[in-house]
């Protein structure tokens, strides 16, 4: 497997995933949602993982953080700056989550707790990782984070509940929450799928801008090649839990090697029909579909 994205030096890599496999035990025997996946990301880099729903891309993102479902088993190696995350104690993993790797999910409304103000939800994460920080200091961080994602009147908006924001604004809140800890790696799982087209562009611009300003590494997970091409430099194409093709954006777009990648590219202009199109081209995803459907909106 040729990997131009592979790193020069192991200790230099921000994220290095080797042979990552997520296995479910089912009544019909073990089932791999992700099989033998390798990923590489240098500091400040941006990697796109592309595939249709059920390809295992969302499970990959959860598995990197050790958030795969209880019923699943994770094997292989996930290294963050050379530090192994697979097999790490739950307490240590907790310190990595949110602080060094942050996540933005697909549906911002259901991903924010409706019972609490957005301010509290940003502050609680910050305070969990910085013991001894006062409530007031955390509030300041929350306001600053909201300002950074361009939410106007942030000092007042921290007191609002998620349902009082529009879809795009909610996703900005999610991003603010993720950024408040200044993580080294941001994993965005379909961050724009639930949003209107115009809002999608704004959120992508925001992610791009943040990456430039802060040097945060980005893993962007999407079914939409058009989205990836805008902000990532390398692409991994997944199908049925396996990587079928990888390479720099230009290479994937100009000289796709795998027919599945070609099919994805063909589907780009017709976003609405995409899934149906893909089904016709690449059948046999029944098993992975079971995983995807149970995976809810995140897949």
């Amino acid at each position: 497997m040729t990997t131009e994205s592979s790193v020069k030096n192991d200790t230099d890599a921000l994220l290095e995933v080797r042979d990552l496999t997520v296995t479910f035990q089912t009544p019909r025997g073990p089932l791999d949602a992700v099989r033998s996946l390798d990923l590489d990301l240098e500091p400040g880099g941006a990697l796109g993982i592309v595939g249709e729903s059920g390809s295992g891309k969302s499970m990959t993102s959860l598995a990197i953080m050790g958030l795969q479902p209880r019923a699943a088993r994770r094997t292989g190696s996930v290294r963050l700056r050379g530090r192994e995350l697979v097999g790490m104690s739950e307490a240590d993993l907790r310190r990595v989550r949110g602080d060094r790797i942050a996540m933005v999910f697909q549906d911002p409304l259901s991903s924010l707790n409706p019972y609490y103000t957005v301010g509290l939800q940003i502050e609680e994460a910050y305070r969990a990782h910085r013991p001894g920080v006062t409530r007031r200091a955390a509030r300041k961080v929350a306001i600053a984070a909201l300002e950074r994602v361009r939410i106007r009147d942030a000092a007042r908006r921290v007191h609002h509940y998620p349902h009082q924001f529009s879809g795009g604004m909610r996703q900005r809140v999610m991003i603010a929450m993720a950024l408040s800890m200044e993580p080294e790696l941001l994993i965005a799982d379909e961050p724009t799928t639930a949003l209107d087209v115009t809002v999608q562009a704004q959120i992508l611009d925001l992610l791009q801008e943040i990456r430039r300003e802060t040097g945060t590494g980005l893993v962007l997970i999407t079914h939409d090649l058009a989205v990836v091409s805008e902000i990532t430099d390398h692409i991994v194409v997944m199908k049925d839990g396996v990587c079928v093709e990888r390479g720099p954006v230009e290479q994937i777009f100009t000289r796709p090697q795998h027919p599945y990648t070609q099919a994805l590219l063909d589907a780009v202009p017709r976003i609405d029909d995409e899934i149906g199109e893909l089904r016709a081209v690449a059948p046999g995803a029944v098993v992975a579909d079971a995983v995807a459907e149970k995976n809810g909106g995140a897949a």
Partner: protein, 330 residues
């Protein structure tokens, strides 16, 4: 908020009026002539006519019903001249059996029913919420399956059967508890407490089972929510995730249902009170039904309807305080 309240109170009043009308209509159509009943033996047609006149039973249905409703809000006077009886608001009429004012009878017995309801509510809330939480935390373990079995069993025992079993085991065989007898709290708190132990348990057990199941299901549902996944992804400690992100959403529906159940019970636990011979509103209802004491049945039915309607409104207000989404929309 105020507009919301006013609308709710208005629709509550309409429901109550309908309960009133419905009950009145059914008894008007079904009951034997109350005048004959009151008159008893040694009765003459003249006396019956006089009673009918005094009670307004000679009036058409609409007039009787109207006078009854007016009586509740403004009081009314039965009869005329020297034999006139003033019935102050809220006037629910007089018992055909004891000639006592129905309102006074209710007021007298309400504290007993409230005592039973409150004690049982404390028991079932504690047992239900704690049991449900434990069961959810330990999902799939022996403890969980044991709790589930226990709740199904508890839900299946009719409360009069349980009452008799408890009485036989605890009072007759083991003699841990005394035979229930009326004792005021001030006279002998211990005896008072022991008297209420069995009714509390009998009344609470079915609810406790239902609340355990509800709490367990809610907690498991909430743990599947995306925002709980977000909380894990933020690296929050497990205890905080449970306390803050799982508990409050999971217990909100419990509050709603509790309000309704508790309000329903305040109006008297008919079977439990009857089985244990406790002189609350429930037993009064059973007795009045047995003696066809129409004004008392009306009064008790209205009271129960009133409590349910009020409970509904209180629940809505509390709910809007707990759930921010409702708060803004209201």
């Amino acid at each position: 908020m105020l507009r919301f309240l006013v609308t709710r109170v208005m629709s509550g009043l309409v429901v109550l009026l309908l309960v009133c009308l419905f009950t009145y209509l059914v008894f008007f159509a079904l009951s034997p002539d109350p005048a004959v009943q009151i008159c008893g033996k040694n009765c003459t047609p003249e006396v019956i006519d006089q009673i009918r006149g005094n009670l307004g039973l000679d009036q058409p249905f609409s007039t009787q019903f109207f006078l009854f409703v007016v009586g509740i809000f403004a009081g009314r006077t039965y009869g005329e001249g020297a034999s006139a009886v003033d019935c102050a608001a809220p006037c629910l009429g007089y018992s055909f059996q004891s000639s006592q004012a129905v309102w006074d009878m209710i007021v007298q017995r309400l504290p007993v029913s409230a005592t039973i309801a409150i004690g049982a509510a404390v028991l079932w809330l504690l047992a239900g919420v704690v049991g449900g939480l434990l069961s959810a935390v330990k999902e799939g373990t022996f403890l969980d399956r044991f709790t589930t079995g226990l709740t199904l069993t508890s839900m299946s025992i009719p409360n009069y059967v349980l009452a008799l079993v408890l009485q036989y085991v605890l009072v007759v065989q083991l003699q841990w508890l005394p035979f229930p007898q009326a004792v005021a709290f001030a006279d002998d708190p211990v005896q008072w407490f022991l008297n209420f132990v069995m009714p509390w348990i009998v009344l609470a057990i079915g609810y406790a089972a239902a609340y355990t199941r509800l709490t367990r299901a809610n907690v498991l549902d909430v743990l599947r929510e995306n925002y709980v996944r977000t909380a894990y992804a933020k690296g929050l400690p497990q205890s905080l995730i449970w306390r803050r992100h799982a508990l409050r959403p999971a217990l909100t529906p419990v509050v709603t249902i509790f309000g309704m159940d508790f309000a329903g019970l305040l109006g008297g636990a008919l079977i439990t009170e009857t089985v244990f011979g406790i002189n609350g509103v429930g037993k009064m209802a059973a007795d009045s039904i047995a003696r066809n004491d129409q004004p008392v049945i009306m009064g008790v039915t209205l009271l129960a309807g009133f409590l349910v309607v009020v409970g509904n409104i209180v629940v809505d207000v509390v709910y809007s305080a707990i759930d921010p989404r409702v708060r803004v929309n209201a």
